[in-house]
Symmetry: C2
């Protein structure tokens, strides 16, 4: 893999060279146009922005941070704008509709842990907010901040070094500003892998993964980032906090979990020791088509509860299964060909009226992985699954990191496209799926107006799994913000009211804060606030997020 390219365009995803156009997806375009009853035209023009002037001059910053080198400080328009928005649909429409935007006053580039400590010390003294920036790929309003205090962005990109690899113990310690591809390249050189591949992989950093509790596509085998990390060095206004580490221990509280998911409010995670793994000898797929969502969910539950762990497990509902067949670039090939030819006649006759595809990718580390995969396939069959060829997965493999590019072109065509995700226990999983669909149906005209809701089950555990939804509908012109807020509220309320968590791996940011706070009792909130108050009494670390110091 190549090291991370730019992800610096104000709203577009990734590397401009990889951008796609909707015309490359004629079937999808036609399908959406029929659904929405309107032609899709690329008629959005995101205005070009100028940030408000910084409240600091170069000289001011020299006086506040005399120990930093000149190239560690930036007041550049480009740098400041880059840290203004995340990469969600809501970020895009905020750009679309906001006349005046707020950008951080300046950007600092620490190069060492000592730099971070120094910056925090000076920031406390001068009452400057610190927002830590990794790859900028967040989709939860993580940068959303107000202008009441001066704001400094801490760009971690220069803290990107390998500290140590212990091939014997399968551990590696990195600085957290390192991007996914760089980190993976270092490990791959010795035939190792971290195994952490979120969709943002190419444009996100280790620090971002840790601070927002990221999950990779192969979490079934390697776990979420909280399962991967062993030890962290966290720089805070109250000093450098470091947990004991070790594979496991019985040495008092394991406090590093407080900083996982702390989203920049409790400290800057500067270094992390991680579990690494030998690269699997091989990968292979088991693909199964189910008659409906319930059958597939039951099969997947039985597979995982039998102790079988596909690296990737992704079970799409009927809407996602259908739509997936429309985004193959070329005709009559792979997934599209198979699903089309199978679905159109033969399947209906066999009762596959609501065909749903389960894709399981197994990593081969030893022979038992083959046996496990075969047992998984048998369980699927028991639940009525039809085996599909591995080529169905080719589209997933090709687009595993690139679907955001498709999002971009859809947005330019005034398509509302947003994702949300949750996690719950198995008993509640299919009911929650139906509750969310029902909430959208009962509380809006979403489906009446041609809106599409896609869903897949992924990140599967013995006790439950994640549900990942994509909403696609026609954008309400001149009403973009309100439309998003209205739909977001409906689905988020439905999640909480029906026993889901407000996020499994996207995080909280500003977008989920309201629902996050509802999940905590008042005494738990006060407890977290007390921790915040001790670590950050001046409330400079990403204030306004999670539990705020000032209630």
């Amino acid at each position: 893999m190549e090291p991370a390219a730019e992800n610096s365009n104000l709203w577009r995803w990734g590397n401009p060279a990889n951008a796609v156009h909707l015309s490359q997806f004629p079937k999808l375009k036609l399908f959406l146009e029929n659904k929405f009853g309107t032609k899709l035209n690329p008629d959005i023009k995101i205005p070009s922005f100028k940030s408000a002037p910084s409240r600091f001059s170069e000289n001011d910053l020299k006086n506040i941070f005399p120990d930093l080198k000149q190239n560690q400080v930036s007041l550049q328009e480009h740098d400041r704008l880059r840290f203004t928005f995340g990469k969600s649909y809501y970020d895009v429409i905020k750009m679309l509709t906001t006349q005046k935007i707020f950008s951080p006053d300046f950007v600092l580039f620490p190069e060492t842990i000592e730099d971070i400590s120094y910056i925090l010390k000076q920031a406390v003294k001068n009452k400057i907010k610190i927002i830590t920036f990794g790859g900028g790929s967040n989709v939860v309003g993580a940068f959303d901040t107000d202008a009441s205090m001066p704001v400094c962005v801490l760009n971690m990109e220069r803290l990107n070094r390998l500290i140590e690899i212990d091939y014997d113990s399968h551990t590696a310690t990195f600085e957290t500003g390192i991007f996914g591809p760089e980190l993976e390249k270092i490990l791959n050189e010795k035939n190792f892998t971290l195994g952490h591949f979120p969709q943002s992989f190419e444009f996100s950093t280790l620090g971002g993964w840790l601070a927002l509790r990221s999950a990779g596509q192969e979490s079934g085998l390697y776990g979420k980032i909280e399962d991967i990390v062993l030890q962290m060095k966290i720089v805070t206004p109250a000093g450098i906090i470091e947990n004991i580490g070790f594979p496991r221990h019985a040495c008092g509280p394991d406090f590093h979990h407080l900083f996982l998911g702390s989203e920049g409010t409790l400290g800057i995670i500067a270094q992390a020791k991680l579990r690494i793994h030998k690269k699997p000898e091989n990968y292979f797929w088991k693909i199964a088509l189910f008659r409906n969502f319930e059958n597939g969910a039951e099969a997947l539950q039985e597979i995982i509860q039998a102790g079988i762990h596909p690296a990737v497990a992704r079970f799409s509902d009927i809407s996602e299964t259908k739509l997936s067949s429309l985004i193959s670039h070329t005709e009559k090939k792979g997934f599209q060909k198979i699903v089309q030819s199978l679905m159109k006649s033969w399947l209906k006759s066999k009762g596959y009226n609501e065909p749903c595809v389960l894709m399981m990718r197994f990593a081969v580390r030893n022979d038992s992985d083959y046996t496990a995969a075969n047992t998984a396939a048998q369980i699927a069959k028991k639940h009525g699954a039809q085996k599909l060829p591995s080529s169905v997965a080719a589209s997933w493999e090709k687009t595993r990191f690139s679907l955001p590019y498709l999002r971009d072109t859809l947005v330019e065509h005034r398509v509302f496209i947003d994702t949300f995700e949750t996690v719950t226990y198995w008993k509640n999983l299919v009911p929650l799926y139906h509750h969310i669909k029902k909430a959208l149906k009962s509380n809006s005209d979403y489906f009446d107006k041609g809106g599409i809701l896609l869903c897949h089950i992924s990140h599967v555990y013995e006790t439950g799994a994640s549900l990942y939804f994509t909403m696609i509908t026609a954008q309400e012109k001149e009403n973009e913000i309100e439309q998003w807020q209205r739909l977001k509220k409906i689905v988020s309320d439905a999640i909480l009211e029906n026993g889901g968590a407000i996020s499994h791996h996207h995080g909280i940011g500003k977008d989920h804060q309201n629902w996050y706070l509802q999940q905590l009792n008042p005494e738990t909130k006060k407890f977290l606030q007390a921790i915040k108050n001790y670590i950050d009494p001046e409330n400079i670390l990403n204030p306004g997020k999670l539990i705020d110091a000032k209630s």
Copy 2:
């Protein structure tokens, strides 16, 4: 399994009906007598104790806790003495040598979470220390306290109810005063298991496991208690704190890890939601004999790093392998017969000069478990292992919870017998083993005087493993305390100086506190102290343990 019997004898383990006598182990007795150069006689008489008078009368307690029922309050000698000592060798010799002992002033028996909240409120008001008691099986000086403040023991045994089982999601919620056998019995009725079997299983509680980060013998499959717990309700002077739960989530800090291993200093864990599992269809053993410790350690590392997870993995060094053969009750049977007959001639000729036994117990949940076990056996063979029959494991199965009874009779024969354990990364595992042996050799006359050091590797992870040691030597009469302190210091210093954790699953208590504190940097200590100060500003929760509120 039967529900927990009494573990209430002041120093003896478990159920008096199961006590053993050294005469049942003639080979062991002879071996030790030869080693120590003295006859072993049961000449220790533990004095019978009277506790100092309580500082409270029945009336005092009625006034302080008017809302409690009469049978929730005890000033009885029996109850108070029971909570004075743990179950370690050090506890026994303290009893042996201390003239005046300190017992808690009174014992309370909460029956609900509300009771606990109420007791804490009154305790804060009246400045009474609270020591939470589960099964009393600790071996790290967890009860060691001073008499400077009044002391109340909170006996959790009446909070022993099942709250909810979700067989669909494989979760169960219990109150934490429940003992291992009761909990397991409830789950077994529906063919489920928690899979958590510490050696103390019969006489320890869920709450104790959580508060001290316990590990069960089958941790290879089910994880340590911190891997098993999903959600906890923790009663503190600052209110009831409850984490978000779910199989995984991205909803901010996961703060329940602060209370795991908090050893009663941060709150009373009252309820816990746990992962449960279908009982495996079957269990089977793979037993292998290696030429030396290094070969077996390498094999075990390769097995676990190939993604193979035996439920139990126990690899004994040469000393433990030898001693294990001496504790079979009957002659010419099972382990003893095989090891004897094999070892005496044939093995030496094949280069098994330092025979070390690896026992792996596999749980069968699906066919891949057989494949995995066979691969594990092949890896062992590659490292020079000789296959042994499964019957070798019969002794382990028989004595898996009962070795403490043997400890008792050894202690009565003036044998010093104590265990300690650590965990480190693979790279450091065998070196740490040798460092500890060397430290004992260089800094004491332990081996010169016939002292025996047994060790096994267990609790195996991809990144490292635990080392579990047993020290057996002749007791230095009239010098019992000093002897223990001297040896404890040598091995604990050696652990820390050579990259081990001071505990993998026993916990900290008073015995490990000194070394625990050395593992934390000053800023981390202050951070933990700040958390303690917020939760427990009056310092009533097990004061003096872990990070004390008053530094």
